[in-house]
């Protein structure tokens, strides 16, 4: 474990808070102008998966957990588990689908991503910022509906729906931001 200042908390790191492991899901350093600096954080409990907000003094000490991030590729779904493979050793690792949440919609075969381990146990997953997904179904653009919402829904290969511009057609590949779920562009 390493001690860091709360002012250096960052999204994606893991800390020990009140003797329990938490993932920092949001951290905003904040100098309110009329008071000393603080860090507003959202913390997700690794034990209960519940989130809470907490404001740290920016100069207070926080214990950062030593985690290891390992590059793995997505293999297949196994009931409530998602199975990843280590491309070097071919070892398989099962991860609970709950840990991944809505981002399961970005899991395309062979997708390479980082799994975060604490003492041999997977405690988090990190998707690449962008993934390329193939459109499997998209309605044709309806003229006249273009003024307020020049976007339409399209279904991608994983079954997820994405809002895309009207010109996108079935069979094309698009790039989607895995954090916001937004359409970023056409994949050439």
């Amino acid at each position: 474990m390493a001690t860091i200042k709360a002012g250096n908390l960052k999204k994606g790191i893991f800390i020990l808070f009140k003797n329990e492991p938490f993932e920092v899901t949001k951290a905003e350093f904040y100098a309110p102008g009329k008071g000393s600096a603080i860090c507003r954080a959202k913390l997700k409990s690794l034990r209960t998966a519940s989130t809470q907000e907490f404001t740290f003094k920016s100069n207070e000490d926080v214990e950062e957990l030593d985690v290891m991030a390992k590059e793995m590729t997505y293999s297949y779904m196994d009931g409530d588990d998602v199975v990843f493979m280590d491309p070097r050793t071919y070892d398989l690792v099962n991860v609970s689908r709950d840990l991944i949440g809505d981002q399961v919609g970005y899991l395309i075969p062979e997708l390479s991503m980082y799994l975060v381990f604490l003492d041999e146990k997977v405690i988090g997953v990190r998707f690449p910022q962008k993934v390329t997904l193939k459109i499997t179904d998209a309605e044709d653009a309806v003229a006249g509906d273009t003024i307020n919402a020049p976007k339409k829904q399209a279904t991608v290969e994983t079954g997820m729906t994405v809002h895309v511009p009207l010109f996108i057609k079935k069979g094309e590949s698009i790039i989607v931001d895995t954090t916001s779920g937004e359409y970023v562009g056409r994949a050439n």
Partner: protein, 354 residues
């Protein structure tokens, strides 16, 4: 690279809506204050000395003349000192809507280093008059943004919650709030050792270096402010005297100062004072602030002697407030972040490096 706001607008013209609301909100503020006989003024955005808030970092630049002389120059963190000079000069109740600048803050949904501030000063008045002014101002903005809504509770839908803006808004003192929400009584709150002990018992990290202000601040953020997100806006008033900033101490109880902040939907919207008019006390506080700035390692600058000299001539009894216009716009436009109300938010201009 994420998509910039102007690029998003190019792709999808419907996201211009918050910007129309922005225009309406600013128009409504101007119209309301002018109808109340406030004079609109403009003050400099390039200053030899900015105001002395110890915790604010400033933007520094250099002013050069063709004649060869060069000067340190600063962007203001608020127009407060200049407006107070005008109050001394006798312009009467006045306001300014302008850009202000704060450096060294984190990237957050509630801050932009360059932001739009509204400051208005009523004279003769104190902070209780300003509370009523703010209530009326929001009623005016509401009528302008929702002209067809005649509901007398002034309902404001924001992020799937419904707030009511009709007066009177909730008023709770800092001491009452500490008692009610944190279970800390007035004596404990005001005492360094007692407050640290109470904080430690609650599980906060307390060391030899922890100051009263840090503990007070942390309890405020963790235990008080989350409760100020009720259905109506809240005035949190009467701050401990050490947090007086530029406000007058209460004559009836000098342990507290006549200052309030106003909260709605998790946003701190404004900070108001019965303005300190005593030049001696003001000079002491400014010098103490500059000393504190030195300790905190902030950019050094001198005292605005002009401001103290103005107060020596006598400033009329005044109540005043500074409000974050971008935050007010975000509320009325029902968008989560102030950056959603800016055509060129800071992340588009200066993207994060990692």
């Amino acid at each position: 690279m994420s998509i910039k706001v102007w690029q998003k607008l190019h792709q999808n013209s419907s996201i211009i809506q918050p910007f129309y609301i922005r225009e309406k909100v600013i128009d409504a503020i101007r119209l309301h204050l002018k109808s109340q006989k406030f004079l609109e003024v403009e003050t400099p955005k390039l200053l030899p000395q900015p105001s002395t808030e110890p915790f604010l970092e400033v933007f520094q630049t250099q002013l050069k003349f063709a004649e060869g002389d060069a000067h340190h120059a600063f962007l203001p963190s608020s127009p407060e000192f200049a407006l107070k000079k005008l109050l001394v000069a006798g312009v009467g109740s006045c306001f300014e809507i302008c850009k202000s600048f704060r450096n060294g803050e984190g990237r957050s949904s509630r801050h932009n280093p360059e932001f739009t501030i509204l400051e208005f000063y009523r004279t003769p008045a104190d902070y209780t008059n300003i509370m009523r002014d703010v209530e009326e101002l929001f009623a005016s903005i509401h009528r302008s943004v929702f002209p067809n809504n005649t509901n007398p509770t002034f309902p404001l839908p924001y992020q799937n919650k419904l707030y009511k803006l009709n007066a009177p808004w909730e008023r709770i003192s800092v001491a009452e709030a500490f008692q009610k929400y944190a279970g800390i009584d007035e004596d404990t709150m005001l005492d360094h050792a007692k407050l640290l002990a109470a904080g430690k018992q609650k599980g906060y990290v307390v060391t030899d270096q922890t100051t009263w202000e840090e503990m007070y601040n942390q309890i405020m953020f963790n235990e008080i402010e989350p409760h100020l997100e009720t259905q109506t806006p809240t005035f949190l008033y009467d701050y401990p005297a050490s947090q007086a900033a530029l406000s007058q101490k209460k004559q009836s109880d000098p342990r507290f100062a006549e200052r309030f902040e106003v909260f709605l939907a998790g946003f701190e919207l404004g900070n108001a004072f019965t303005e300190l008019t005593d030049w001696k006390e003001q000079e002491q506080r400014c010098l103490a602030d500059l000393e504190e700035r030195k300790k905190l390692g902030k950019t050094p600058f001198g005292l605005d002697q002009d401001f103290i000299d103005a107060l020596k001539l006598g400033m009329p009894p005044t109540g005043g407030i500074a409000m974050g216009v971008d935050r007010i716009v975000a509320l009325f436009a029902d968008v989560p972040a102030i950056q959603d109300t800016l055509f060129f938010p800071i992340d588009d201009l200066f993207p994060p490096s990692v």
